[in-house]
Amino acid sequence: MGFNEDRKRYLAGLEDKTYFMLGDEACAYGAIFAGCDFFAGYPITPASEVAERLAEELPKAGGLCIQMEDELASMAAIVGASWTGGRSMTATSGPGFSLMQENIGYAIMTETPCVLVDVQRSGPSTGQATKPAQGDMMQARWGTHGDHNIIALSPNSAQECFDMMQECFNLADTYRTPVILLMDGEIGHIRESVTMPALSSIKPAARKMAKPGEDVFGGEELVPGITHYGMGQNVHVTGSTHKANGMRDVTTPHVHEALVKRIYNKIDDNREKIIRVEKDISQNGQSKIGVIAYGATARPSLGAVRAARDDGKNIDFMRLITIWPFARKQVAEFAKNLDMILVPEMNLGQISREIERFVNCKVVSVPKIGGVPHTVEEIYDAITEVAS
């Protein structure tokens, strides 16, 4: 498992090389570089290429790749695999992501590290199956029932699809939680050059292991140490409310409250360590208008911001790299001297509403659905309209 000789031998053939590939494929290679031991999935556009590439390549590195009967099973299998100590993942799109929700909640409640890739396509339902969208932003946050937190990252290039797989697995292992790579179909199917890192630069986060006999589901720390199957610890893993020792207790109010709050807080209290944003602030610092975007939409957004600057307008730009936990502090700070923020997204305004909650200035949603990403002109026009 992990970085054994088989894995290193395989990666030695790839390190430091640059290839032209799809975002989905970059995600697959990124997973292998991240030490992914197990993939379980079910075909769906526009995420199938993640499974196909892993099916081809992961066994060469000694990892296991299987196709399950559906997405419920895929999500279940990666949780089971994770308790053996392996790094495990799945990849899907909207319809499959919907089917995974119950077992995502299970992974949250049992504090199981694992990674999900959601290559978003146009919904609801089967929608425009082959067209990109960013419609699952809120489903990623709240898709499974009950109070919880989630970590979700949004790449905007094939290179980031590659790089973020390491980040996802490291966050999953550090915080003992499922982590979502919240891609969109545009980025999944973009074809760009991707540079593989040197093997020596890979620093996988290790899971904190519980000492023999130590509680695996509670204790002093926000993130308890884990134990794996076959270690003789008789670990009891349940999605029911449980005590620190893993035993069910579904009636005592404070047991439930303490468990759910700790699981919630382990992400909330570490948000500043988790969150990444990227800013491109207008040179003279006089901007009254800002643009916030993420994923594929960040690309035409930045293009439009630059075009507007060429016209002599002062516009600030921020890209959300971490979607959840939400970069509320960073967004508030970005908004401090602005009168208005434009938020282009490939949905009817999911993240713009989240931004509204944390800023005092006006927030203008620039939505687009229908399966065609925003053009630079469309966002430029939106900027000019409010800036004139």
Partner: protein, 284 residues
């Protein structure tokens, strides 16, 4: 005078006893049978993972059996167990769950695991009802039975789950009842030892939420009924279908060798690893 300690308590998480099963419930019998099978096989529970779903029967291993346990979502234990097994082929992975869990909501996982012939042992406790939720109709409830969601009597025919699993490709399939404890112990030993997907349908009793509705008040009444209804599979094969109405066919339905999924998966994976190794050696 204190009673001598039951040897089987070695396999039980004793600190959480007494168990929560209703009086007369078949789950206690299944737990007892299971510990006896493990004891006879001299299996170290440290080398086992018990996986279950949601339901009364799912509580047999979770939390009572002392091994690594995975108490999963309703219907999905076989899918969770698949991830455990392929990653740790050296561990015995056993699924114990209810008829609703395994053949209703989780039926798709059941037939596909059987088709793959993955080396799991699945013990389905068939009490012919959704016990935990209060006695609603299950895919295994006999036609004509009144349940809380079939107040005008069940119009659906019940699933023959053992036959279904045999047809789907499992290596080992048997059906016994909670009356046949010694046969059941033996069958569990065979199932756990078998390489490949092994499945035992354990016809069991739920006096509270099923018996109440069909006029059987106690576990004993159920056992007497099972004794009467049981017909060995060899005998059953000689009888026309209409003569089997209301009978429970017991015995071994399948015991055969077929390629096993986990070892096949590791074989093809190793082939790929070896190919890379050979390529690299050629270069250097």
């Amino acid at each position: 005078m204190s009673q001598p300690r039951n040897q089987m308590m070695n396999y039980i998480r004793e600190e959480i006893m007494p168990h929560r099963f209703c009086p007369g419930c078949g789950c206690g019998t299944v737990l007892n049978v299971f510990t006896n099978a493990i004891d006879n096989l001299k299996l170290d529970p440290v080398k086992m993972v018990c996986v279950s779903g949601i339901g009364c029967s799912a509580w047999i291993p979770s939390p009572y059996f002392k091994s690594d346990t995975l108490h999963t979502t309703h219907g999905r234990p076989i899918a969770f167990a698949t991830g455990v097994k392929v990653m740790r082929p050296d561990l015995k992975v056993v699924v114990i769950a209810g008829d609703g869990d395994v053949s209703g909501i989780g039926g798709n996982h059941l037939i596909h695991a059987a088709r793959r012939n993955i080396d799991l042992s699945v013990f389905m406790v068939n009490n012919m009802i959704y016990g935990m939720t209060g006695g609603q109709v299950a895919p295994t409830t006999p036609t004509g039975v009144k349940t809380s969601t079939t107040p005008h009597l069940n119009i659906e025919p019940p699933f023959q789950v053992a036959e279904l699993v045999a047809a789907a490709g499992a290596s080992y399939v048997a059906r016994w009842t909670t009356y046949h404890v010694f046969r059941l112990i033996k069958a569990m030993e065979e199932a756990i030892t078998k390489q490949g997907f092994s499945f035992i349908e354990i016809v069991s009793q739920c006096p509270d939420n099923y018996g109440r509705r069909i006029g059987l008040r106690t576990g004993v009444e159920f056992l007497k009924m099972f004794k009467k209804q049981a017909i060995p599979i060899d005998k059953a094969r000689e009888l026309p279908e209409e003569k089997l109405e209301g009978r429970i066919i017991v015995g071994k339905l399948r015991d055969r060798e077929r390629p096993e999924y986990t070892s096949e998966l590791h074989r093809v994976t190793k082939e790929q690893v070896d190919k890379i190794k050979a390529e690299q050696e050629k270069i250097s």
